[in-house]
Subunit: 463 residues, 2 copies
């Protein structure tokens, strides 16, 4: 129903925006801002500051609260308007002790980390035989009797890809494995980390207990440890593991979205929403996920602001509690879903070079899409889909029919770092970060000033 | 004195070995064995087995004892002669809890590991202000008063090199930093890991307390953590750290060298000693340090054995307790230093491609050196020094004047992994491992059958 309402809210008659400047000038402005942004220092300064002065910032913890305070201070100092925090409550899960060891036949320690919402072992750990599966399909095919009382190990064969598209498929081991293990009566589950690197830094990540699945201990082994366990299992002797994971739910705490704006000339032209998420997993300092995203979008918004008041209001949103279940995105939708969003875009895939530009906007706005594509082309960015674009926190808003743009970063090494202790500042290449800022600046300059409406999204593309 | 005795023990009159085959045949045999070794599976099988079925094997622990048992079983099954363990006693230090966190001004955890022989903090840790130095030179220049009661942080600027030559220089922070910190009255010391990778896996390694230095807690931060601490220190506010390291000395335990032989035709021709070290640090599974070395040298020795009884006895030594102070090497020297070693060589620098061949042998043996160089050239290996060659465990024996050969592996990524949890099987490239086996096989085939003596080493080269 909401989709229909939105589609009819932007009749074709209002497609042209009277206050807009000529297209040629808008393009020249975007080019100029883009080239200046190739020397950007602000995005680095922001992500360096956030990761150093706050560090890890797990949703709902006092570290995330410190990150919000830090953000408000920085965004006000940068001259943004209406800088504020919109708070919401959420249940908070925190990590405890994490240890795994093979007790027999070849005693040795393995490196493990708990998955989000994992249940806990007793403080001294639990000991059980291990049953291994090469894939979720193999695990699904196993009988409950084979699994009952055991520690389940589930592997997979995710490889790096430029667009990161393996994450959805292979990520099932994390998202669905624990609930399935619980339902089959397993004592615990450890999965091969949903990642592509061979460092002994396991990848955490959220999972939610499905209906009928009571929480059990659920962890991820680093890839070297997962393959070690597979080699040990292949020897054919019973494998005994001791697993200690002592995370706990600490109750309801406050999180929040940090919002800042660049007021536009025409309130009726709608809002251009850009942003990323402020929270991070607790293992690293959240540099690529998503310190980079909040820094890139803020630096771009600041550059467009400095170029003169845009036609549309730019709203910068640094979402809270993304990692643990898109809670900030949902809170934003509840509070702002009925406002007119001209177009929305999110940066949450690291800071490597943007290589493709996707969009999901009206037919009438295709000339603007082409203009953005032309402005991005000198940065090595090609035009991609015109029917699919989304984002993590903005996903629900995008799915409700709001015009959406997506600047796709090269994800080849993203899942080497994603959700690991290795997500630290040194992983950001300042040169590629600047390319990101330049692309976002050009896109945002054009989007905030475009002479046509970006909606309505054709029904076929609105998903 | 010992050097003089050794030099006079190999008079020039015995330079030619009567039982040797013609040089041309020896070269053709070496070429044939080399090419066959490019299909080697044994070295992989050995290092896979050792790292999987034993895993980490810290010197003097029951894990190292299991490694010796495993080795004796495997070496006997491979058909080597005189397979035995020569035991020795040693003091044993074991790791405890390891935690570091910035308490102020930006609370967050850092990743730390204890250096060998580190003292311990109280179980609940110690808290002190941090004073940072960019180099050992800066730290040396600091007054005792500036350091007293503080946690010292020492950085350095080691970069990767092909020959690994930065390790000696930059390694001072690990070898000398803790004793200096103790003497200056510091509460503890943490150094930037002696390594070149940006993963949150700190590099451990041995250090010994100098005269007058009482043990204090001494740890290493991973490079991302060391740089994070530097960024925090640069903010100019007092930095407070809580450090928890609870290692302990557990008393005297047994270690040992594992020895296996390929008996030669002529006992008077001396022994060709090849090997690596069996012990590893406890954090990884000791794949590149030095599972690879023991596997490569064993695979080469097995190939030469299978080609027919060599002129000289090949003695394969898998040294114990190398990491903690070359204790196995010294025990071997004490027990076997007076035997006639024709030539000695050790593999202890990973498993990446061998790129250079160094030697330290008699003038009369230079034609044999050239023959080895010719046999190695098709593997992409160039002839290097003819006056400098050594090894870790064989260092004392080499320094005493014994002819020595060194096959230099590419060390560009060695210090990314060295002494970290990341030293695991997946870091070995099977193709490069085979190149190593081929090079060692060719060298060993020629060395074990050469028609001239390798000694005496010229006095200038004997160091």
């Amino acid at each position: 129903m909401k989709k229909l309402i939105l589609l009819t809210a932007f009749p074709l008659l209002t497609l042209c925006v009277p206050a807009a400047a000529p297209a040629q000038k808008l393009f020249a402005d975007a080019e100029r801002l883009r080239d200046a942004a190739l020397k950007d220092e602000l995005a680095w300064d922001l992500v360096e500051g956030l990761t150093t002065e706050v560090g890890p910032r797990l949703a709902g913890t006092e570290a995330e609260a410190r990150a919000r305070d830090w953000s408000v201070r920085r965004l006000k100092a940068l001259g943004f308007s209406n800088v504020r925090v919109e708070t919401f409550d959420m249940p908070v899960w925190v990590r405890g002790e994490e240890r795994a060891e093979i007790v027999a036949p070849f005693p040795q320690k393995l490196v493990v980390t708990a998955l989000g919402n994992s249940g806990a072992t007793p403080p001294q750990g639990l000991q059980a035989d291990v049953i291994g599966f090469d894939s979720m399909a193999d695990f699904e095919a196993a009988s409950d009797a084979a699994v009952r009382g055991k520690i389940v190990f589930v592997s997979h064969s995710m490889v790096p890809t430029q667009d990161g598209s393996g994450y959805g498929y292979y990520g099932r081991a994390r998202r669905e494995g624990p609930s399935l293990a619980s339902r089959k009566g397993a004592a615990a589950i450890v999965i091969r980390s949903i990642g592509t690197d061979y460092h002994r830094n396991p990848h955490t990540g959220v999972q939610s207990w499905a209906e009928g699945a009571t929480p059990i201990p659920a962890g991820a082994l680093s890839l070297p440890d997962a393959e070690q366990l597979q080699r040990i299992l292949k020897r054919g002797k019973p494998v005994r593991m001791r697993l200690t994971l002592t995370p706990r739910m600490i109750g309801t705490r406050q999180s929040g979205n940090v919002i800042a704006e660049v007021p536009g000339r025409d309130a009726k032209a709608g809002i251009v929403l850009v942003g990323g998420h402020l929270d991070s997993w607790d293992l690293g300092t959240g540099a690529i996920d998503d310190g980079a995203g909040v820094a890139i979008t803020a630096a771009a918004a600041k550059r467009v602001m400095q170029a003169g008041r845009p036609l549309r209001t730019i709203r910068l949103v640094w979402f809270g509690a993304e990692e643990v279940g898109l809670i900030g995105g949902r809170d934003y939708l509840a509070k702002h879903g009925q406002e007119k969003h001209a177009v929305i875009a999110e940066s949450d895939f690291g800071a490597d070079k943007i290589w493709r530009f996707d969009s999901k906007v009206s037919q009438a706005a295709q000339p603007v899409v082409d203009r953005i594509a032309r402005a991005l082309f000198p940065l090595g960015i090609v035009k991609g889909s015109t029917t699919q674009a989304s984002g993590s926190d903005i996903g629900p808003l995008s799915a409700s029919g709001v015009p959406t743009i997506e600047l796709q970063q090269d994800g080849t090494r993203y899942f080497d770092l994603h959700h690991t202790p290795d997500d630290t500042l040194d992983k950001i290449d300042p040169e590629q970060l600047r390319q990101n800022v330049a692309a976002w600046t050009a896109m945002l300059s054009i989007a905030a000033n475009a002479e046509v409406e970006f909606g309505p999204v054709p029904a076929a593309a609105a998903r």
